[in-house]
């Protein structure tokens, strides 16, 4: 397998052919913020948090799906990128109904952490206050679409790891929302195995264990990686 050499933030980096810029940066200890990306499932480049600048290319490219090529010069934290990332987070906050103070994921939320990381102290866009639904019909879990950022991690983790494909995206654009089964109440979706991987995968408080109160959400994110390793590498211990 051939090795590509590239430069990330003025640091020479070598990465195997086929690796993404995100993977190469991670190996080199360079942090690129991500949100929809989840280790162990496919990448969709939906959130645009991991956008990077590559010299000679006018477009900003998502690091999670852009493969390394020989001699490219990558910048991951330019003022332009900082501005765009902050705008992405602002738009996510303005687009849904995110009320951290009473959220189950308060203090343990990737959206909240990113808002802090990118320095978002307020949003410059008017809040949309959309009317969205809450489904707590499942005996163990609930989904609050007010807190959903459409990262589709639940869709991918359920389809690709559990193989149940309970979740999908309905509608388009600003009307898009996460749907269970054929737009049924979660409790009526026979495909659901009640495994709880969607709870572990969800970056916000959108999918949670029922009965969880403010700031109580816990995730077992390592379980997802364990299952992938068990399947692909036959490593059966955690």
């Amino acid at each position: 397998m051939s090795v590509k050499t590239l430069t990330i933030n003025n640091t020479p980096v070598a990465a195997e052919e086929g690796k993404t810029i995100l993977e190469a940066a991670k190996e080199a200890g360079i942090h690129i913020p991500t949100l929809c990306f989840l280790e162990g499932v496919s990448t969709v480049a939906a959130c645009r948090m991991c956008l990077v600048e590559i010299e000679g290319i006018n477009k900003l490219l998502p690091a999670c799906v852009t493969q390394v090529t020989e001699a490219i010069v990558v910048h991951t934290n330019t003022p332009k990128l900082q501005e765009y990332r902050r705008m992405v987070i602002e738009l996510l906050f303005a687009e849904g109904n995110h009320v951290c103070s009473i959220c189950v994921a308060n203090g343990n939320c990737e959206l909240q952490n990113l808002a802090i990381e990118v320095g978002m102290d307020h949003t410059r866009f008017p809040y949309r206050f959309p009317k969205r639904s809450v489904d707590v019909s499942h005996p163990q879990f609930g989904i609050d679409r007010n807190r959903c950022i459409l990262c589709t991690r639940c869709v991918r983790v359920c389809g690709e790891i559990e193989g149940a494909h309970v979740w999908d995206v309905a509608q388009r654009g600003a009307d898009a929302y996460i749907v269970s089964g054929l737009s049924q109440p979660w409790s009526e979706v026979e495909a659901c195995t009640s495994c709880g991987k969607c709870v572990d995968a969800c970056p916000t408080g959108a999918i949670f264990r029922k009965g969880t109160t403010t700031a109580e959400k816990q995730r077992d994110r390592a379980k997802l990686q364990f299952l992938v390793d068990a399947r692909e590498k036959h490593e059966w211990t955690r």
């Binding site: 103070s101 009473i102 189950v104 809450v134 707590v136 019909s137 005996p139 609930g142 609050d144 029922k210 009965g211 969880t212 109160t213 403010t214 700031a215 109580e216």
Partner: protein
């Protein structure tokens, strides 16, 4: 010509309100009204939320007494789960409420009200506040602030946050008190007790010079309502509802919160966002009743702790039996702090307080729940209806300040009639009217389900709407 004086906003209270004073042709006070002019809408926007979130959401109604909403909400949640919570959880919730009573009463007494009688009713309004108190009597101010800190720290030791700790949950609480927490409370109790005793002694001495205030600050007959324990003792979390009259006779006893709609009615007046609850059997407005420290001290047979009981005897001797003057709210508040500290001392010696069995788990077993608890300001009811998945369909909150609404209006009118005469209105006169409201320690943020700058604006308005005179205090 009829005239109207408006005090807007009322200062040193929690929330936003104004007072209108109506003068008749002879320039005498005809009537006075206490208007609550803020609107919050919690009952509406909680609809559609899972009931398990209600404790966290309703605690956000108020930064002064979030614990009160937390507990009333958690108790309502217990009913929806249809569980009896573990004994340890019951004791831990009580401990937090005692911390809450301590900190809130200390705030009302030292920070908000004491400047009136320590610095003088007619003293410079720019200095008649907690900062003026710090300048005039730094030791007292510091002791009061530290007493409040003690109560706040009890809350923090349990819930990890001083304000808005979402620690009480349907089925119990999240965590017990750590041994370090027990040790901290034990170490700091003596100082807090010394402060409240010192405050009681100075207040009792002052009372001799406050006879007019005692006589005119909402001195009238009304019912009193609150929770009492099994044997009629002072209660703040469990027990059942009791009503007594102005002579101390028990009007109703052993009432359950579940039946509150049978004995409490709510009237609405178009000039206030605050409803007017009344005791149903006597109708509106004859069913006027008071809640809070004064009511709890009046309705209970005893406190059940030695020092508070001693103070209760003296309180009743000074009041001549039942305290009907709303000015006694301040006195009752101090005795309640003492009782709270004594009970905290008992609770931290209880081994249950460190038990790990603090939370019962269950599904939705009842579609309706009513919870009650004593907030520092009085009896607080939460009433939820949920669907079979536990999603809130309807919320009704009956707040202590609301229940004192009729009494506050009567108090304002009584004070205005006594102190305000003629067209020459001094700031000091108006301060007394406000102080009548302060005695109740109203929390308008809660009762309308805000905080902010509260300058005073007084208008003397002619019946034709023309402004005859204006006084500003910024």
């Amino acid at each position: 010509m009829t005239k109207k004086i408006v005090i807007d906003p009322v200062t040193r209270i929690e929330g936003h309100a104004k007072i209108s004073i109506y003068l008749n042709d002879a320039g005498e006070v005809d009537d006075a009204r206490f208007h609550v002019v803020e609107y919050r809408g919690f009952e509406k926007f909680c609809e559609g939320r899972p009931f398990t979130e209600m404790a966290g959401i309703t605690a956000r109604i108020c930064g002064i007494c979030p614990v009160s909403h937390l507990l009333a909400s958690a108790k309502t949640g217990d009913k929806i789960l249809a569980v009896t919570i573990p004994p340890a959880a019951d004791k831990l919730r009580r401990l937090m409420n005692l911390g809450q009573i301590t900190q809130s009463h200390a705030l009302s007494f030292f920070h908000l009200s004491s400047p009136d009688w320590l610095l003088g009713w007619d003293s410079d309004p720019a200095k008649r506040n907690v900062f003026g108190l710090i300048a005039a009597d730094p030791d007292l101010a510091r002791a009061g602030i530290r007493l409040r800190q003690f109560g706040q720290t009890v809350i923090e030791l349990l819930g990890a946050k001083k304000i808005h700790a979402a620690w009480a949950v349907p089925g119990g609480v999240r965590s017990p008190l750590s041994p370090e927490g027990v040790a901290w409370i034990r170490d700091h109790l003596p100082e807090s007790r010394a402060t409240v005793k010192m405050a009681l002694e100075s207040f009792k001495k002052l009372m001799g010079s406050l006879t007019t205030e005692i006589d005119k600050f909402g001195h009238f007959s009304s019912l009193f309502m609150g929770l009492v324990g099994k044997n009629g003792e002072w209660e703040h979390y469990g027990g059942q509802i009791r009503f007594t009259d102005s002579e101390g006779n028990i009007v109703a006893d052993g009432l359950r919160e579940d039946d509150y709609q049978d004995y409490l009615g709510e009237a609405v007046e178009k000039w206030s966002y605050l409803k007017f609850p009344y005791y149903k059997p006597l109708g509106y407005p004859d069913g006027i009743y008071r809640v809070g420290p004064l009511a709890r001290v009046n309705i209970c047979s005893n406190f059940g702790t030695p020092e508070a009981d001693k103070e209760l005897q003296e309180f009743r001797a000074r009041a001549g039996g039942v305290a009907n003057s709303s000015f006694f709210y301040h006195y009752a508040r101090l005795i309640e702090i003492l009782a709270a500290l004594e009970r905290i001392e008992q609770l931290i010696d209880d081994p249950d307080i460190s038990s790990q069995r603090v939370r019962a788990n269950a599904g939705i077993n009842q579609l309706e729940g009513i919870g009650v608890s004593e907030a520092p300001r009085g009896t607080l009811f939460h009433h939820y209806q949920v669907d079979e998945n536990g999603v809130i369909q309807k919320v009704n909150l009956i707040i202590a300040t609301g229940q004192n609404n009729l009494a506050m209006n009567k108090t304002v009118a009584q004070i205005a009639k006594h102190y305000i005469q003629g067209t020459e209105i001094t700031e000091g006169m108006l301060n007394r009217v406000e102080a009548g409201i302060r005695a109740f320690d109203p929390c308008l943020s809660c009762s309308t389900h805000a905080a902010g700058q509260m300058p005073l604006h007084v208008q003397l308005v002619g019946s034709d709407g023309s402004i005859l005179s204006e006084v500003y205090r910024n």
